[in-house]
């Protein structure tokens, strides 16, 4: 069994009413697959989290479909929104998905420098996406288009806003992995590589949501 030992001892109750004894807690299966699930725990954890995310975005997609099909008229996305900027953002997110898997592949090859370069490009892509999104939002606000304007803009701002928050969340984790989190490479390369893999899975999901948001909101 492969385990990771916490570096700081954690106080635990010794079972005799004398709390405060110091023992080290071992976290199992952070590196190699558990025999019963066939994967390390982090991977199963991220997939369960992504399943809950599908339900979160699914509720919003369901709402959009109901609102749109119930409305006597609904503006076309291409009439109201900026297609060239959204297309550019699509390419940026797809590109960032590739750089994450390239980072992971290079870490598996033992090349931390290249791995960090690709993670940095991913982070920059996320930043680029957010800058473009903020330009889009600013233009909408200048034209007095707010979530309260109508159902079209309400769904547009809620769905792209929630997606943007997910991009921001991913950027924070990538920032950690490039910066202080990279110290783990010196002590446990495999665990660092696994962390990049599960963060990558999350990032691909964020890309996947955008792949559906783009045509539904902007192009139809």
């Amino acid at each position: 069994m492969t385990t990771t030992t916490l570096t700081h001892p954690v106080p635990v109750d010794d079972g005799h009413g004398h709390g405060g004894g110091h023992h080290e807690i071992e976290i199992p299966y952070t590196l190699h697959p558990r025999p019963d699930t066939g994967m390390y725990n982090g991977k199963l954890g991220i997939w369960l989290f992504l399943a809950s995310e599908v339900m979160l975005f699914g509720a919003l997609f369901s709402t959009l479909i109901l609102l749109r099909t119930s409305a006597p008229s609904w503006p076309h996305g291409w009439q109201e929104l900026n297609i060239p900027l959204a297309t550019l953002n699509t390419f940026i997110l797809i590109g960032s998905s590739v750089t994450v898997v390239l980072a992971w592949a290079n870490l598996r090859l033992g090349d931390l420098r290249k791995g960090k370069i690709f993670l940095s490009i991913t982070l920059l892509c996320g930043l680029g996406f957010m800058v473009i999104k903020s330009i889009e939002y600013a233009t909408k606000f200048r034209h007095h288009h707010f979530p309260s304007t109508n159902n079209f803009f309400a769904t547009y701002f809620v769905m792209t806003g929630l997606h943007g928050l997910h991009v921001l969340g991913g950027m924070i984790v990538f920032g950690y992995l490039i910066g202080p989190g990279a110290k783990l490479w010196e002590t446990n390369r495999d665990q660092y590589t696994n962390r990049v893999e599960v963060t990558g899975l999350y990032w691909h999901f964020v890309d996947l949501v955008w792949i559906f948001l783009f045509p539904i909101l902007y192009l139809l």
């Binding site: 697959p33 479909i65 792949i211």
Partner: protein, 142 residues
């Protein structure tokens, strides 16, 4: 499970579902990622091109969603490695797809049901029509 069985299960998991970490295999993977990236880029152009045709709404939705499903499948299959994943992940995703379907179907079902129970309900109106007067069943309140 005894120690030998655990070791065997881990080896099996590596062999069938783990990632081959040999440099050749990883370089092959990288080439595959770049091909998928090119395909995703091309399909994005196709999606935008379809929207420029201003097709009838139903056809436009069908084509746009078809391309989106193909793109999503490429991301899920190759970037998220679902093409060679453990059965447990497939089971989790199957359950997710079922509940996602329920999320879409549930409100729709209620909406069509409303037409039956609420006379005068117009599916295509943004505001529901005034409720029909409740028929007097002859029972007076007590």
């Amino acid at each position: 499970m005894n120690e030998h069985a655990v070791e065997h299960a881990i080896e099996e998991a590596h062999e069938h579902f783990g990632h081959d970490n040999s440099p050749e295999a990883i370089r092959k993977e990288i080439r595959r990622y770049l091909i998928v990236f090119a395909a995703l880029g091309a399909l994005t152009i196709v999606t935008v091109a379809i929207s420029l045709l201003h097709l009838p709404t139903h056809l436009a939705i069908l084509l746009a969603l078809t391309v989106a499903v193909v793109k999503g499948s490429l991301v899920a299959a190759f970037f998220m490695h679902l093409i060679s994943e453990r059965k447990l992940i497939y089971a989790v995703l199957l359950l997710t797809v079922f509940f996602f379907g329920m999320l879409l179907w549930g409100p729709w079902h209620q909406r069509y049901n409303a037409q039956k129970v609420w006379k005068g309900y117009d599916l295509n109106a943004s505001q529901p029509a005034p409720a029909a007067p409740i028929e007097n069943s002859g029972h007076s309140g007590h």
